[in-house]
Subunit: 468 residues, 3 copies
């Protein structure tokens, strides 16, 4: 049997446990707001059945893959596709290997999410293991053929009120166009993530910028044409539900250059003569440009800063990105955002949500910054830190300087559709546990705790992302 | 009703709660030692009534202002004076706005301090809100007219044994001179903070140095004259109660240059031709000079390193410094203090208290350094970290390497006079909670816990600052 | 009486306390695996009595010395030898001073270790103090003359199954050779620590490299000869039980240079014309070379990165290294190991254990790295962080991303032989406390907790170091 105790994650001792349980009972059934994530819009547009258990739970989940690899299992045997097209293990074989090594996940959030998903979506309460591998595989496989496991039914069953996907600037949004025709936009929304045309470290940058010009009819060889292309594209994304933009950047650096320098920088990027410093400066300038456009159009800006991508060149060559070799780095948000904030940090229409993988910035930078600037909010714990202990460290370090009302609520930020309710559930339990401890220490009243628990479970995300 | 439970902040569970409560009962009434802070010496010199509630609680408290601003309220509407003299909201109007938004402070130390102050000084137990705004304003306003709320009575009522203010090197200390004539020096003391003549990043530095020479009769254009001017000024400050110096610096960097280099650096500063690097080097050298003077005269040296000041240029231009836009930065104390410590770190007469806004240094640098050098003590949690969770992180990380006896006790470090008892109370509660947990875990004996609780509540600060 | 409560360090509240106690009862008597440390191999080779209490407990323990120094006691009075041969206090006098100041250690791991050692090895339960100093000294001194306190008996009594010492590359291992003849190798093992021939910042580097060539018969002036000398020396160490190498480096930087650059670098080092950057690059390249040799011979590689050594020049001049003036620094493991991991991070035979003094890397770097790379494990908390709170912060931050099975178990890493059982006991208690809290929060099952407690107490270290 898995270990999904009804009181899981609540404080072990009284009175905090009972208070947490009471708080949780008032928030556990609130609808889910998922304003940032990476689910596939094709699922919701086409509403076709998921193919098989391994491609649902295993191969798209880099948390799971990386742990298995770290203990010596090979990505071939786990069925992770190769660029050279050589064959890899079939779904059921990979699943068996995963199941036999499932004990490795003890203590990790992955186990919590998977156990929760197996129970909530398939009614499975047996612990995944070598012995139960086939039976569980068959049970999932059979369920995937039923209407209850179609993508839109999954959203219904999980009470997902809003979910945002993330698309690059050059994406023509075919799936969102279909959903728009279906009247499904609003529940599903896109997000504008222009990294494909703002990051000169991508080999295809010049080609991408050229396509960007063609797509928008703007002359992107001139700086104002480039900015106008973004303006046009943001409008197009908004027509498909977008309320936000997202920016995945190695650092939080921003710049505010004179036009002549911006044009020269663009010239070098288009000519392919830019240096690594130029690439950083271009990204930095584009963040400020995105902020200025956000002042114009009211889209909420998200910065996800500090992942060191593709640290294993062998993996990248063999199979590509997003397979577990991205590792956090230090981030300096104060010096990083200085140029952007000096330019437009006091604009009432600007809303910027900060995400980090460097927890040392929570109390030192993010909370004090969000506790001063009207434009800034602290994003929820990201990636490796979206875990019970990660959420505890986050609340411990941000609340006192930022208060509860400068937090952006929760993001699940996942590709793993079935894990969405599990992730929100962990957040809600941890928020209630945190508040239960504080009520138990007579630091806040029960009624305040109740208000805050509801706010952080639901309304904070809607407010942060301006979702009406 | 506010939430000032008698057991607030103590551990929620037994046996730690009962132990903490017992420990606290022995320290809660000890006199307050306030060896570092920013109260206005004019208050204690003149002992005049405070003008009104808003100018007591709201406009001087950058913790409060910044939070309100972060949620979109304007400093004009909060009554924060402008440099251009344009009118801002009157006290009562600002107060109403503050009160209506007081729920934003849930979970912040500001709420703890304000609730405590309202109750302790005015007997007010109603929660501040839009509804109670006027009644509470009137009640405070009436009380301010009574003798009990005169500044010296506030010190008496709060059982403040010693309080230090902080003045710049060029300050002529008129209020302390008056208090000296009154026999009030000793209870109130000044502190020598020579940033006005040691920080070349200040536009007025050359003019300030010239005044410094005039004030002391020394030739500050020569390095030894400059040092002698400090020697003279430190003596003057000591005559007005000073036991310590204080140094607010962006980094903890120190230097120990040959005389010829020091003179050349001074020449450039006086000529206004210094670079940013020169400014840093000048500050670094001056820290070492201050340490050498401390070896001579026995004044305790405080370094407050790592605040990035005035990160919002608009705010600075409109209204000036100290209004919430200072944000912490990373600090390297080990490399920073290397020159100073190599020069005089083993001098028995040197006492240097280290303060940081970068909590990552607690366990990595400050505690190991204080646990080795006889001259070093770890200062209490500073600024954003002077909060219940901040104190917990601090004790968690410093005690095991520094022990309890290399800590400098508590500082309230505040401009907000009425919050002083509240801040000391939080420290004492947290110390007792920490010790209660450790006794509960059978790590230290009750008698040791009792000794340590008393030490950290009272004697540690007297010892650290050599207050007889 | 000292405070060695049977439930010490366990959670204060139920149900976590009872769960922790039950878990501990199953691991407390497991044999000790000590795969990394600094005990003197002469002890085990010669099995002679220890000379006196002060030279056992005081003068070799830099944790103890540094604390006493930090409160103003002099190393002369504590009996720490001087390079100039001037006399220092005798053992009993130093002991009295130590005892009279033993209260300073309240809250430190040193006190836990010493109290535990005094009780376990000598049956002493009185608290060390000025009053008890002589009686305890005499009791220890008498016991040291008995067979029970001979070094090998100490290993027997403490149930030490394996203990590794650490020797430099030039060490001829005379004591291990004697133990090999005795059939004692296996229980005692050496470790290959080639810092003496890999760190060009040592003044003797050129002479050391020359000796290295003589010792191995290789031409160390050529890069391949240098590497072959290591190959030969590693084999020699393996013949004396070594399963691992160890590398004490200021940073975790690695390099992977072309042969021509490596040879040029070696030429400069041998000529004594290398810069500080050359020294860093040489160390960086040698780490990669050691990894490549580890792929060949299967020795486990340990990197201890980030200590800033000898920060007090006066101490170093007067008395030498390892006396308390080494302070932690920040470490960047991700960028640091990039070259090494790109070269051989996916080799199945590579095993690399990472140690840090910068706790900010636990969740940000070490756990994510070990949770991806099959070659990496997270070493236990090191040095200042090998303490109850240090272990809590470690488990809090590494488990969720690395899992339990990417941890290397425990190291005592000590010169203080008698403290070994005490240190393992603290680790086991903290592991059980951690698991007890998680079972109490219904996050993991009791049976999983039991498996993990046993694994981290014993088998993890054997597995990590490939001890059969």
């Amino acid at each position: 049997m898995t270990h999904l105790h009804p009181d899981r994650l609540f404080p072990a001792s009284e009175p905090a446990q009972t208070i947490a349980r009471q708080l949780y009972s008032e928030v556990s059934d609130l609808p889910l707001i998922s304003p940032h994530g990476h689910t596939d819009p094709a699922w919701f547009a086409n509403n076709q059945r998921f193919s098989d258990p391994a491609s649902l739970f295993l191969t798209p989940d880099h948390y799971v893959l990386r742990m298995l690899r770290s203990r010596g299992l090979s990505y071939d045997d786990l069925g992770v596709p190769r660029k050279d097209g050589k064959s890899v293990a079939a779904g059921r074989d990979a699943w068996r290997l995963f199941a036999a090594n499932y004990y490795l996940f003890a203590g990790t959030p992955s186990k919590t999410w998977i156990d929760h998903s197996l129970k909530a979506s398939f009614g499975i309460e047996e612990e995944l293991s070598g012995e139960t591998a086939d039976a569980i595989y068959d049970r999932i496989d059979a369920a995937l053929a039923t209407p209850d496991l179609l993508p839109r039914a999954v959203l219904d069953n999980a009470n997902v009120e809003v979910i945002a996907t993330t698309e690059f600037a050059l994406d023509t949004l075919p799936h969102h166009q279909k959903m728009k025709a279906d009247g499904y936009i609003g529940r599903v929304r896109t997000t504008y993530r222009p990294d494909d045309v703002t990051d000169p470290s991508r080999p295809a940058i010049a080609a991408n910028l050229q396509k960007f010009g063609e797509l928008t009819g703007e002359d992107i060889t001139r700086w104002d044409g480039l900015i106008n292309a973004h303006r046009i594209r943001r409008e197009f994304f908004r027509q498909h539900g977008a309320v936000a933009t997202d920016h995945g950047v190695p650092t939080a650096n921003t710049a505010d250059l004179p036009l002549v320098d911006k044009q020269a920088l663009l010239d070098r990027v288009l000519a392919g003569t830019h240096t690594a410093n130029d690439a950083e400066l271009f990204r930095a300038q584009m963040l400020t440009e995105m902020a200025l456009l956000a002042v114009e159009d009211g889209m909420v800006m998200q910065i996800h800063a500090g992942s060191r991508r593709n640290t294993d060149p062998l993996l990248f060559t063999e199979r590509g990105p997003d397979l577990g070799a991205d590792i956090p780095g230090t981030t300096d948000y104060v010096n990083g955002l200085r140029a952007l904030l000096s330019r437009c940090g006091n604009e009432p229409n600007l809303r910027l949500i900060m995400f980090v993988l460097d927890e040392t910035t929570y109390a030192r930078e993010l909370a004090p910054m969000a506790g001063y600037w009207p434009s800034l909010l602290v994003g929820p714990p990201w990636w490796f830190h979206d875990s019970p202990q990660g959420i505890r460290r986050y609340l411990d370090q941000v609340v006192e300087s930022a208060g509860f009302y400068n937090l952006a609520g929760f993001n699940d930020d996942t590709r793993a559709l079935l894990s969405i309710p599990a992730r929100h559930d962990v957040w809600r339990r941890e928020v209630c546990g945190f508040l239960g401890r504080w009520v138990g220490e007579n630091r806040i009243s029960r009624s305040t705790a109740r208000d805050v628990a509801k706010h952080l479970s639901y309304q904070a995300a809607k407010d942060a992302y301006r979702i009406k």
